[in-house]
């Protein structure tokens, strides 16, 4: 890519929309806002956005090897620490339901790779598979009753619709076409993986090794 192309993008997108999106607490990735994402990858736009955000004690933070952008605090005072701490608690409480959901989607669609940015999910197909397999529908019932999703429905249809609606609200999925039941995973999921990996590494949980030994035990 030449710098010319980037310059064009900068002109087209403008920093305003990006700043707004960041201040709304949204994650910018290739899936959610490709133009904005491209613009943030370009140094001059990024600096402009950064300068603006710095005036209100914000900064551009990135995750997932620089593929996802979000808004963080520039200086962390007492008040900011409180906010960050409450955000962290929120993320932690969401981890278990989200991981259960990720595993369910991976297993139900018979895929080798867990969902990551850009992967499509066809809701009707997924729903049919979950409905056909009692174990999957049990898992869905369990995870949809977590506070994060807060479903009180007893049938698969109601549960799955609510779960997906919540996931779109939380920014883990987007629905590019309102008419079609196709969802696309966003870069925020990659952020989630990074959070889990961070916890795994700092707390020395060695999750991968645990999974590995469990699989080997299953094989035996």
């Amino acid at each position: 890519m030449s710098s010319e192309v980037y310059d064009n993008d900068t002109v087209l997108v403008g920093a305003g929309a990006i700043i707004e999106q960041l201040l709304r607490g949204e994650f910018i990735c290739r899936v959610t806002n490709e133009e904005g994402w491209r613009a943030l990858k370009n140094n001059s736009t990024r600096e402009r956005v950064e300068t603006y955000l710095n005036q209100i004690n914000r900064t551009i933070a990135s995750a997932g090897e620089g593929e996802v952008f979000f808004c963080g605090y520039q200086q962390l005072g007492e008040a900011e620490r409180k906010v960050v701490s409450s955000q962290f608690k929120e993320i932690c409480s969401a981890l278990i339901p989200l991981v259960e959901w990720l595993v369910l989607v991976q297993e139900a669609s018979g895929q080798d790779a867990p969902l990551s940015e850009g992967a499509p999910i066809r809701l009707t197909e997924l729903q049919a598979r979950i409905e056909d397999t009692p174990a999957f529908s049990e898992q869905l019932t369990k995870l949809s009753h977590y506070r994060l999703f807060g479903s009180s429905s007893s049938n698969v249809d109601g549960q799955i619709k609510l779960v997906f609606k919540r996931l779109v609200e939380l920014g883990y999925l987007t629905k590019p076409n309102a008419e079609k039941q196709i969802y696309i995973a966003t870069g925020k999921l990659d952020y989630l993986y990074e959070v889990i990996r961070f916890i795994d590494e700092t707390e020395g949980l060695s999750l991968e090794a645990q999974a590995e030994t469990a699989t080997q035990r299953e094989l035996i």
Binding site: E20, L23, R24, G25, E26, I56, R58, A61, A63, F70, C71, G72, Y73, L76, E80, R81, V83, V84, S85, Q87, F88, I91, C92, L95, I96, V99, E100, L102, V103, Q106, D112, A113, P114, S116, Y191, Y193, E194, V195, I196, R197, F198, I199, D200, T202, E203, L205, S206, L207, E208, A209, Q210, A211, E212, A214, T215
Partner: protein, 406 residues
Amino acid sequence: MSSNLHQAGVKLLKQLGRHADVIMDAYLAGSVSESSHDPAVIEKLKKSGLLWRPEPDQALRLKRSVRALLEEGLSDERNRQIDSNVGSALATIKTLADHYKEARYNVDYSAAEAYLADLSEHVYSFTDSLRYSIRVLWGRINNEFGYVGTVNAKIRENELAQSQVTELLNGLEMFQFSELGEIAGDIRELRRLLMTSLQDTLSYCTQELSVVQGRLLELLGRFRQIQGRTRLLKGWLLHTDLHPDYQPENHVAHNKIPALFNYAEAILKPAHVDISNPHHEFELLQMVAQIKAISRDERIVVPRDTHVTFEMSEAEDFDIPDNPLKVAVDEYFCAIIDSGLRQSALEYLQQQQLDWDSESWLYQVIGGYEALPMEHKQYFELEPIGKPHPVYTGNFIVTDVELWLA
């Protein structure tokens, strides 16, 4: 001898063609079930060495060479056989080059020629097999080892491909061009084969292989990442199952908060109307007043004009007025018939003092002639008068046409 070989080869190929479905069955299934095919056919194929039995109680299989032919011909992606035995190819090439030199030294030209042909064959087939190997590798990379299902299998396939690349590269290192140069000496044919052609191919292949290696490593990294994530999720579930009251430590309590968790609160909320704010009342009312009410229920139905009577009546006669130019041309044709003389179209035009443009007149005359029915046309002869273009040959500029009775 050579005609015998030719005949035997043709026979073998015909056999392949005749029993193509048996061979394809064997190719696709891996082995032939002897009960489902004619025993005589199986026996024949066995005799000509197309099928073989690896162990006494095993089913018949295709010979490797036939398999390789099909794999290459069909560009079958499952093909992962790579011939990395560069050493033996190199030895053969050196030996043949020595034979050739000896024959030349003994002034035995026919032998020398045969050895040279043999040598070229070996060099070319060696370079071809190298290029083929690279093609196979690229094929596997490009569909990301799509022929195996799981990520683990893909990782193993990737490792196999990497070991093949390493082996190929090691093999290529064995080529010492200084040594080949010594063998070739100052013999032009040998230098061309061993130095120019081989060197080109080898440098191309080495470059290509290093790119392949890079891509393989990149893919491996991706596969590992996928695998890692799957394990991470599984491990997380296992861990939380084993320790139901597990809570992640408070990683943001430290003095230095990890950048990952420095996630600011949203300060822009989705816009919405605040109807309880009395200051906005005036503006809101104005906006409401501007909303256009679209009510589809009260749409005025326009009655359709269904009372127009429709009558069947006879179609009126109409005629197309004759084109005066066409009439004039017809008169010209009649004048020719009357006079029975040759007359050019432009002459007639001047004679009758008609005020048609000469070019459109000529076109109409030619058109009129062409439009005549066959039986009338044969009474006339039309000849263009003109001259060839002064510069561009093949172009004939018509200045006039001449018409007469045939």
